[in-house]
Symmetry: C2
Subunit: 334 residues, 2 copies
């Protein structure tokens, strides 16, 4: 079987199973729309640690340990861990993984890292390189804000177009054998940059990357949007979601009837996060908390998850560069 | 064939070929020991660009384009690009990849990224997910110094234990078919942290990770150090190299007769870099410039390359954390 399909897609010969998922969420996320789907909700964003970064590490590690426990495996049963986060040098991830003593591969795709880790985990399993893989990502509002934008103490006013970085971590246990929804295909994104320079406008900046990857997925696999019960993007927010629908309409694909953005699933309107949620944990909480469980319940049989990442850095912004973006998609079917 | 071997290693069923390699180096590297092995040597670390970061992006992209040209393929022939660098949010990589329009996966393993990209590239090819992959990494002395240590204009005195971040980029074209040295095995490292907190002492901090991965490689594969004509580590420098030899001796493996550190191969003693070279480009320049060509010439038939990464961040240092480290190894055989 030819696994590479079309220009950017992979169809797995023996689609790996997602045995279980687990989530740890911040308090604001706990009060949000999907609050009752998370495994653990913290009482604040620091949870007794000395720093927000330590708390983010704790969340990531707890998510992996919880996912392993729910899958009825131990940490030593895990062949490899694939993980990443938004912080410089993947700080949260490395300090979370430090004590786990498992072979580890660090990934960076900004908020697309959740899909990147799912697809590379599936590649390792389908390729016969192992039996069991843990994938995980995290983000924490305060660590991300002070790194990407302003010192958090400043309380800078946010423009209406801005999104709110999700506090949370999500992990999934992938296995070559077992039961559960399976990762059947993936589309690896290109770096797309349409010249947007405002780091508050990440949804509009990422929408062309999302549309490009979704278009490639449909073109490569010959599938129509209706093949999927639902299509999700990672964290485009209200404006980015609408743009993605329009960009795909121009290319002949109508996703308006079965498409939602994870960035619009996390918070209630009255939580005042402006244009929606963002961060690695936007898609991770939505998928590991909600979507995966709905698939297990039988509500959806086939979903397509395209996680979107804004690849700019504070230095690139200061140097007046535009924002390169990427999106990776994974098809998951029961 | 069972590809997972032992606890942390992979033996490839159809070992992918390294068709060609290419390098771009800074002026100081051009004047170093391996200067005559590089494809392009810049006249200074900025090469007419507006920033060091732009120059690093230029180096990375030029390395990929040169490697493709030497392999007699075009950029559209590349199925996937796997790449990374030392900068926050992989800035050099993302801006280098932006115009290439190829499916891209971003990796972060600090200075171990070169081995991480080689091994994941080999996983994709051996698993049947594509035919042709470009991998690349870069580092640039001035971008890394100002991010990790002090503003470069300060001219802060460096302690004798410190190493010098290499300015350079290396790329390799991997292929499921063709000719050239082949990636036969890989060992994926664990995060190892022995509690060192001095970010100048990266060699000693990384040595236990290097020794752990090399030990696992020998234990997993049943091979002795003498199986390899040469064993290389990435950027341990003088002190880290000696420590690695001693740590492996304690575990029953003597590598002292056929082992060198890439960090000691880049510069002449009189170039006054103190304890040796460091950075993603240390192993990338040594391998893509020198080691690969010596293998093609027949001097070495089997080598083991273990790239080492120090996973700390300036924030983790300020928060008084110790330095987590990792090493990934790839076996390459003609």
């Amino acid at each position: 079987m030819k696994k590479k399909t079309g220009k950017q897609s992979i169809c797995f010969a023996s689609p790996p199973y997602i045995l279980e998922t687990a989530t740890v969420a911040g308090p604001m996320e706990g009060e949000g729309k999907l609050g009752d789907t998370y495994d653990k909700i913290l009482e604040d964003n620091i949870h007794g640690h000395e720093s927000w970064e330590q708390c983010e590490s704790f969340m990531l590690r707890t998510a992996i340990e919880t996912a392993a426990k729910k899958s009825k495996i131990t940490i030593p049963d895990i062949d490899y861990i694939l993980a990443g986060d938004l912080l410089n040098q993947l700080m949260s991830t490395h300090f979370a993984i430090r004590g786990l003593e498992r072979p580890f591969l660090g990934l960076y795709g900004a908020c697309s890292t959740f899909a990147e880790s799912l697809l590379l985990g599936a590649v390792l399993l389908d390729g016969g390189f192992g039996e069991t893989i843990a994938i995980a990502v995290s983000s924490l509002h305060d660590t991300a804000e002070r790194q990407y934008r302003f010192p958090t103490e400043l309380g800078v006013q946010r423009p209406p177009i801005s999104q709110w970085t999700v506090t949370g971590a999500g992990s999934a246990i992938l296995s070559a054998n077992g039961q559960g929804p399976r990762i059947t295909a993936a589309t690896i994104g290109k770096v797309v940059d349409i010249g947007i320079k405002d780091p508050n406008a990440m949804g509009p900046a990422m929408a062309p990357a999302a549309a490009d990857t979704l278009y490639c997925h449909f073109a490569d696999t010959g599938k129509q949007p209706a093949y999927y019960d639902m299509i999700f993007t990672g964290d485009l927010g209200a404006i980015g979601k609408q743009l993605t629908i329009e960009l795909l309409q121009e290319k002949g694909y109508d996703i308006s009837g079965n498409y939602e953005d994870c960035g619009l699933m996390i918070y209630f309107d009255q939580q005042d996060v402006h244009s929606g949620a963002s961060g690695c944990a936007s898609s991770a909480l939505a998928f590991c908390g909600h979507i995966y469980k709905e698939m297990r319940r039988g509500r959806w049989k086939r979903i397509l998850l395209a996680c979107t990442g804004s690849l700019h850095s504070p230095v690139s912004y200061q140097q007046k560069e535009s924002i390169p973006c990427i999106a990776h998609a994974v098809a998951i079917e029961s």
